[in-house]
């Protein structure tokens, strides 16, 4: 089963004629994902590397039956592109683009209220169900099909966790990068809920970082709703206060956002927290054995 994406997902790429869009559309197809086309306004009717291109998302959906959209359009246009995808009835929208203004995301989230759609990102590596579908920019070869779910605010740190698990012979059901921005489409809680209900997931690795309180909220949720074991790592324990560590979301401001508070909240919720980023795989292995 897995969550969000699988071998039946039909994916269109918004911004498919851009260099990043085309490169990753091709990579996803090579992995075995059904990439059924792309959207670039003004280039409808053409074809690029075997992908049919449409002017609008609604035309792409009508012609291909796509249910998933992968967005690579530049940040200033993401508000428009995300809502266009939702309006066209796409069930799952994955926005890879980095640098989307926060006030735009407030509008997107308001627009999504009450609609039956899921948004992942922005500023994320995407979603991967090993052996079935890669809908994002992660390197395919590091993944192994299996039964561990992964959720992460960080891109490369997700790869690190996946790689550690694969090297221990532990496969993954689905790996979800939720993105490092202050306001994102799906939170830890949303994805934890999906993994809890997924028959093919036995345990979850959750990778958080300093800033905000998403990890504390996730801890509350885990305490009350998760029967499956959860292992976590929080990046940025050694980060100084008041300095934004790359991600717009990763900053310790005032009294909130420190790694120490997050670790404490998670441990209280029964989560096993990894002592170092090199031990995510081993900690999970110990927890499920």
């Amino acid at each position: 089963m897995s969550i969000l994406v699988n071998k039946n997902s039909k994916v269109i790429v918004q911004g498919i004629t851009g260099s990043a869009g085309l490169f990753h559309a091709t990579q996803c197809r090579e992995y075995g994902t059904q990439v059924v086309g792309g959207v670039t306004p003004g280039k409808g009717g053409s074809e690029v590397d075997g992908f049919p291109v449409f002017d609008t998302v609604s035309k792409a959906v009508a012609n291909t039956g796509a249910n998933t959209s992968l967005i690579f359009v530049p940040a200033p246009f993401c508000l428009d592109s995300i809502i266009e995808a939702i309006d066209a009835g796409v069930e799952l929208v994955i926005c890879i683009t980095e640098g989307v203004p926060t006030l735009d995301m407030i509008k997107v989230k308001k627009y999504m209220e009450g609609k039956d759609v899921r948004l992942i990102g922005p500023n994320c590596p995407g979603v991967m169900t090993p052996g079935e579908a890669k809908v994002g920019i992660m390197p395919g070869y590091i993944h192994t099909p299996g039964r561990i779910g992964i959720i992460s605010r960080s891109g490369t740190l997700t790869y690190e966790a996946v790689w550690q698990l694969s090297n221990l012979g532990i496969g993954q059901s689905t790996s979800v990068g939720i993105g490092g921005d202050p306001i994102i489409g799906s939170t830890f809680i949303d994805i934890l809920g999906l993994f809890e209900e997924d028959d093919d997931t036995d345990a979850v690795v959750m990778i958080g970082e300093i800033g905000g309180s998403a990890e504390e909220e996730a801890a509350e949720f885990i305490k009350d709703n998760m029967s499956k074991p959860v292992v976590a790592f929080i990046a940025g324990a050694t980060a100084p206060k008041g300095k934004r560590m790359g991600h717009a979301g990763a900053i310790i401001s005032g009294s909130s956002g420190s790694a120490k508070d997050k670790v404490a909240a998670l441990e209280q919720a029964g989560v096993t927290v990894c002592p170092s980023p090199a031990e995510m795989g081993e900690t999970l292995q110990a927890r499920i054995s």
Partner: protein, 386 residues
């Protein structure tokens, strides 16, 4: 991006927010001139740096007569102002705001932030002004009112009235507060702020609601649509290396340790600092070369790390996704040719084109210590400086 108090007050006054009369001065003669144009009995001279706690650090002074303004401006300009937000090294003051001194009846707090939990703009206010809102939140949370803004309708006047009554305003001052809060909100959304803070908001002895201080931060991701705000950027407020890094698309933050770190991805970069510390070492920096770095960017990143004389070893930790390992290898080789890397270089490569990257490094003739994973490489990096 942050701006100065004087810039924030200028911006806000365009939105109908009441602020004291005043202007920025770059030398004491100018300060005197500005003061002599003000119709007031007392004056205030305020250091303009991007940090709070200026008053306690001696950066805000009251002049009781016009002649005193020049002397106070001379004292403050050029001083190294140390506050709880500047760090022990302090900040050099290059400009002062000269204002009419206000007769304060009461001080309040007013702030706007983007609340991640509700995913909306939240307006906060408190009758406890002039102190840090985090302290109020800790000791007397009941003294803070929060109004959540629905993005469909924006901030509404009734919400501002709720705030005004909560902080204890009455009569005509309520309407003044409503106008001020609405103005602040319009400035916030028009300019893509991430934070706006009036602390303190004051009621003067002659019943005027005025912003005595103003702090505004802007969403870096939205600056592309605000060229006028970009112009307010003051490069002297930033660490020159961090600023240069930004121009190269590299995210660099200097720290106090001696192991330089070169990483791709913010999360992995933070984790690399964490694991260096876990093995008993001290990271010299946070450095994220970004997802799709080029050979030039990697070379530049090496130069930045090496510009820090504390660096005794460099730890390269790359997990290639979009970033290909051969690009990193090329950057390492180019950088060592260009700048010469005299300190031990510890490299851990994984991900896209990893075999090619490793081969390029091993054939380069460079003296590189390799680590098969993050743990081994971090251990070797810490070992290398002993």
């Amino acid at each position: 991006m942050n701006i100065h108090e004087y810039q924030a007050k200028e911006l806000l006054s365009n939105y109908g927010v009441s602020v004291p009369m005043g202007k920025v001065a770059f030398d004491h003669e100018e300060a005197h001139q500005i003061a002599s144009d003000l119709n007031t009995e007392k004056y205030v001279v305020k250091a303009q740096i991007h940090a709070g706690g200026r008053g306690k650090g001696g950066g805000v002074k009251i002049a009781n007569v016009l002649e005193e303004v020049k002397q106070l401006a001379e004292e403050i300009l050029g001083m190294n102002l140390v506050t709880h937000q500047t760090g022990p090294e302090g900040k050099l003051v290059g400009k002062v705001l000269v204002e009419e001194a206000s007769q304060i009846e009461k001080e309040f707090y007013l702030g706007m932030v983007i609340d991640r939990a509700t995913e909306k703009i939240v307006v906060m206010a408190s009758p406890e002004g002039g102190v840090e809102i985090e302290e109020v939140a800790k000791h007397s949370p009941e003294k803070i009112i929060k109004e959540i803004v629905d993005p469909t309708v924006g901030l509404l006047p009734f919400q501002c009235r709720e705030i005004a009554y909560f902080i204890g305003l009455q009569g005509k001052t309520v309407n003044q507060a409503v106008k001020l809060i609405m103005g602040l909100y319009d400035a916030f959304v028009d300019n893509d702020c991430s934070l706006a803070e009036i602390n303190p908001l004051i009621l003067t002895k002659d019943n005027q609601v005025t912003a005595l201080d103003a702090k505004m931060n802007f969403d870096d991701n939205a600056l592309f649509r605000h060229p006028d705000i970009q112009k307010l950027h003051d490069p002297t407020e930033e660490d020159p290396t961090e600023l240069a890094a930004k121009e190269w698309g590299i995210s660099y933050i200097k720290l106090d340790g001696n192991i330089g770190c070169l990483v791709n991805g913010a999360g992995l970069a933070m984790s690399t600092m964490d694991i260096v510390k876990h093995h008993g070492g001290e990271p010299a920096n946070f450095l994220d070369v970004g997802g799709g770095a080029t050979t030039e960017q990697v070379t530049q990143a090496f130069k930045m790390i090496l510009s820090d004389s504390n660096v005794k070893a460099i730890f390269v930790n790359i997990f290639g996704g979009i970033m290909k390992c051969d690009t990193i290898a090329e950057g390492i080789i180019a950088a060592s040719k260009e700048v010469g890397i005299e300190v031990p270089l510890i490299v851990r490569l994984e991900g896209t084109n990893v075999e090619l990257g490793r081969e390029m490094l091993s054939q380069s003739g460079l003296n590189i210590i390799t680590g098969k994973d993050m743990r081994e490489a971090a251990g070797k990096a810490v070992e290398a400086i002993k």
